[in-house]
Subunit: 368 residues, 4 copies
Amino acid sequence: MTIDHTAARTVADPSLPEPSAELDRLYADFARNSTAPLWTQTNDLMPFTPKPSAIPFVWRWTELLDIARRSGDLVPVGRGGERRAIGLANPGLAPTAYATPTLWCAIQWLGGHETAPEHRHAQNAFRFVVEGEGVWTVVNGDPVAMRRGDLLLTPGWHFHGHHNDTAEPMAWIDGLDVPFAHDMDFGFFEFGSERVTDEASPAISRGERLWAHPGVTPLSSRGSSPSTPLGAYRWEATDAALRAQLELEDEGHPATVEQGHAAIKYTNPTNGGDVLPTIRCEFHRLREGTATAPRHEVGSSIWQVFEGRGAVVLDGERHVLQKGDLFVVPSWVPWSLEAETSFDLFRFSDAPIVEKLNFARTFLSGTR
Amino acid sequence: MTIDHTAARTVADPSLPEPSAELDRLYADFARNSTAPLWTQTNDLMPFTPKPSAIPFVWRWTELLDIARRSGDLVPVGRGGERRAIGLANPGLAPTAYATPTLWCAIQWLGGHETAPEHRHAQNAFRFVVEGEGVWTVVNGDPVAMRRGDLLLTPGWHFHGHHNDTAEPMAWIDGLDVPFAHDMDFGFFEFGSERVTDEASPAISRGERLWAHPGVTPLSSRGSSPSTPLGAYRWEATDAALRAQLELEDEGHPATVEQGHAAIKYTNPTNGGDVLPTIRCEFHRLREGTATAPRHEVGSSIWQVFEGRGAVVLDGERHVLQKGDLFVVPSWVPWSLEAETSFDLFRFSDAPIVEKLNFARTFLSGTR
Amino acid sequence: MTIDHTAARTVADPSLPEPSAELDRLYADFARNSTAPLWTQTNDLMPFTPKPSAIPFVWRWTELLDIARRSGDLVPVGRGGERRAIGLANPGLAPTAYATPTLWCAIQWLGGHETAPEHRHAQNAFRFVVEGEGVWTVVNGDPVAMRRGDLLLTPGWHFHGHHNDTAEPMAWIDGLDVPFAHDMDFGFFEFGSERVTDEASPAISRGERLWAHPGVTPLSSRGSSPSTPLGAYRWEATDAALRAQLELEDEGHPATVEQGHAAIKYTNPTNGGDVLPTIRCEFHRLREGTATAPRHEVGSSIWQVFEGRGAVVLDGERHVLQKGDLFVVPSWVPWSLEAETSFDLFRFSDAPIVEKLNFARTFLSGTR
Amino acid sequence: MTIDHTAARTVADPSLPEPSAELDRLYADFARNSTAPLWTQTNDLMPFTPKPSAIPFVWRWTELLDIARRSGDLVPVGRGGERRAIGLANPGLAPTAYATPTLWCAIQWLGGHETAPEHRHAQNAFRFVVEGEGVWTVVNGDPVAMRRGDLLLTPGWHFHGHHNDTAEPMAWIDGLDVPFAHDMDFGFFEFGSERVTDEASPAISRGERLWAHPGVTPLSSRGSSPSTPLGAYRWEATDAALRAQLELEDEGHPATVEQGHAAIKYTNPTNGGDVLPTIRCEFHRLREGTATAPRHEVGSSIWQVFEGRGAVVLDGERHVLQKGDLFVVPSWVPWSLEAETSFDLFRFSDAPIVEKLNFARTFLSGTR
């Protein structure tokens, strides 16, 4: 948002002041006093509806995998170069590498037997695995296996590192609130162990052993926590929940968000809320041949195709999608999905920020 | 709490008024005006610590089963005689059939192919199955299979009936907040269908298909609800959670409530709170040979032995316990458990009432 | 609630079992095992709508004042006889001195220069002053002047005593959750100082100096507390709020609860909720000549006329009311008010218990 | 945050990859695929502690008033040029006119008998008056007088306009979450009436008549609302609260935030929380001669001197302050105040954003 008073003054807007030498002196004094008039910026600053700088955009998984693999060959991972992660840089937000004003999304690559050292940060993070396995992410000392379809959580200020227990490389996506924390100046960072603090490779993490029992929670727990104590949400549970919703729909019972569209929210078992204070995670499944109603929402989200073929219509433009492809929906951009086959997508968004701060609005069917 | 002014006056308590004819006239006028002095009742009304009328008491499962079976032979079930349920009547609360001032607990018996008709009430209810199977409880039209170790919920104002899909009779325990709702005058009741509205006998209920996925909830859900939407908490999940806690303890990680004592709370997945607005449900497992620290708590609870042999010490008195035995712990009565074998117990209590109304206190080790 | 199995068996209810020797043996065994069948008690235990034992009742202020004054002459106040308080004993709840199943209400009398010693209890308390002044209630060491129209709070476990700083006696009403805490076994009690710990008589308490500024709260406060930190709600604020509501109604703006009926809720400034965890306090003002719509509510309440003349209709029966008169509305009893003159009434109820435990229902206009 | 891969590569950081032609091709492919590596940006993106672009800065009231007055002469106010407001543009955030990443602050000027037309926006706003009077801000049709020391609220999506009822001009400051809503793409805007919808000039608004009674709230209110229903927080209440805190401190009671430092938070009477979903408002008073302990906080704030003389030390640099001067404290910049005379300051901050999203940290005494 650049302020160009000259431009403003040359437009014949009756609400703007008449040019004059005195006015020029006034504008110069604004600048000298580190001030700026609202009347030259209102349209940009306070539009009728959100006018995101971020643009709707699609990244192709095949291309991301290619550059990630080449990074694996050329770029070391270790203390200092903490992570071999390649961020999705929304072209509308250049020169940053932000996907949206709030959300960071990257593909991370870890070669066979490599270790990404431990650190922690106030920023909240998760990983989602579209393919592959063999890496354990160790969160506050708890090794968490990463497998296809799993959502792995690293809430703010939890130490975490990753180690590849196999000879094969593995890639996954990271989601964080890095842009938000950076632009708000909320972030803290601290180095931890050079290697992960527990190199075991259990099939199931300790957090899951305590918390991944439906409706059954440790009596020793002290109640609501701001982030989920459950470090892994496994594909088996997600898939079973989605399958059940579609079966219930077939049987005539309410279960889906709209006809042919099953969806779940990953939740914090201590309070039923979102898994992270700033990020909502969801998984969507569309029946073959269905399409969702177009929808506007306040806040931004990022989607990744997990399985199947289909398309997304973003602000009227249709993008065909394949497994692993990622796309971003900036605030208030109308979106709808179309399923050529059964179509599975992971989504994360800044909805907790929008809702906790009372900015939520949703409109269906493409009209405001 | 009987008010006997005469008794009060004859005691030589310096804080009490001198007997006189005028005082007699005053006390008579108290009664005539439907009033009563606090000074003659304070000790009873406001003791230093809770002095429950309910007493610690143990009911034997073999005896309960016997009278339940005989009731099955002699007493019909059907509209009017809605339920063949036999309440545990705390001797301290006679002539009521209350187990505690807040909680009702009964053994219910349903013969082969019998049906208990549908009704609903503002009172909150659950069933817990210590043995047997074959009955479906149908809650708001959703048939829920009842099997050993399962907790089945019937939140307030949900229609419910039970039908036995087999030729064998089945017994289980019911827990309700009937005494609380009755004494507070909070209850409503309505008849429903003469038979259950869905006679299917699925292995898993629709509520479970939507909600029994760890941390994964329907996106179509509208957020926090006062009672759990999950109608059944299955034994497999409870058992797995308890086993995991003891294994984690063995591995040196925090998980249990005290050494050798695993415990879970059944929770509402929409908000992480209790399954019912007035009733907390828990399950405890003690390792063979362990004992819990004596404990006083505000509020009352009822326990049932699910498996194993052991004892409970209630206010200093030790009661040996076997499978199915039930005991009640009135408010502030010190209790501790001893496990002869591995020892599994189900518990329910009025803790949500105590905590939401800010009366909670706990003291460990038998001293206040 | 007395259980008379004989009575039940002699009634020709098709849902009840046939009399037989075997059935007699079964009923005897119920008793021997401290159990009782539900089928003989359902109607009493679980009525279609609340059937309170408490009855609608009116106490006359002139009579209460008379017996309080005579108690002042005959009954000492001091350690042991902690309070010279005379409870309103609902005839339906004999032999207790409860006003409702949850609420205690008493007239308290303190002679010139008398002191009621300090104590504390888990039970929550307040005082409301319909006439008089001169007494300071000292709550956790903070002296709070009591004057006509004031509501004074003593949340659970706060030390409190009263001292009369004048030569004139003073009377007021106390409201507590004593019946609730007694019957639930939630109460604790502790003696404090023999005299009040601060005998000063400031016009305004320290709690008010910190908290009685509209919308303006101490930054040093640590957020939401279960009870109000504001020890006194002064008549001036209550009166001004009610006057404003009626003026706003005159000007055509929404402000009152119904036409001609202004009402306020006393609230905890730390969270906007009720002043006590178990008790709601309100004040109502009706314009001369108005009547409220008949209303059923779950839960019980007690009202005191503060000023004016009018009537209450309780379950169809009309009671004329004058200044100071008190009446009780048991759960689900329809009530409406009629104002002969401008009519001011204080009210307290167990609504926080009803609402926090999810039993709330309200029906307007006398039909369910 | 500009990403300069060249720079990164030329630094001899062992964690960075070796330059090579292949690496050059990789970096080119990053750009071609709208991606960017994390390893060249980590230090900027995720610093050890917040490294705000916003700088500590002081604006002088005399200079702001001068340019505001000259704007009053040269710049019209009316539809299109909605407000004659001059924003404080933090030099570290150029070319925006943001005061901090979340907060907008402007001086607004309204000439005698001028009207700023009505509009509404999702952005939350308030006005604070350091001197002058005569303008009414009309919020959802409720005219609210603006006077010295008053805080006036305009929660998101409330229509509002201002009209000057006198012949004299008036200036005040506006605070909004415009930078936050703009950068997050959360904002909506709508035009309203060309003039204010109610040109009355009452001394007190309707919102105050309903809500400005300490602890006493309308029974017709429907509970917690996200923003305060109280449109005006008057100087008299603020001043009285601060005076009382210092007097209580003199008397030996806890009341202030630290010795000699009284402070209040403006709160929403429906829930005790902040007046706006995104903005906290406070008022501070230091005794003559006192200084506050240096403090770091996550999140940014803006202060205005209301009365007295003193100084602020921002990141070690001391700035002398006079009435009306404004200064900004970016996130994690240590600050302390020094009072030459009794020293009154208004403050607003983004603390609700920080706290609701779980990023809060505070450190006292200048060391982390």
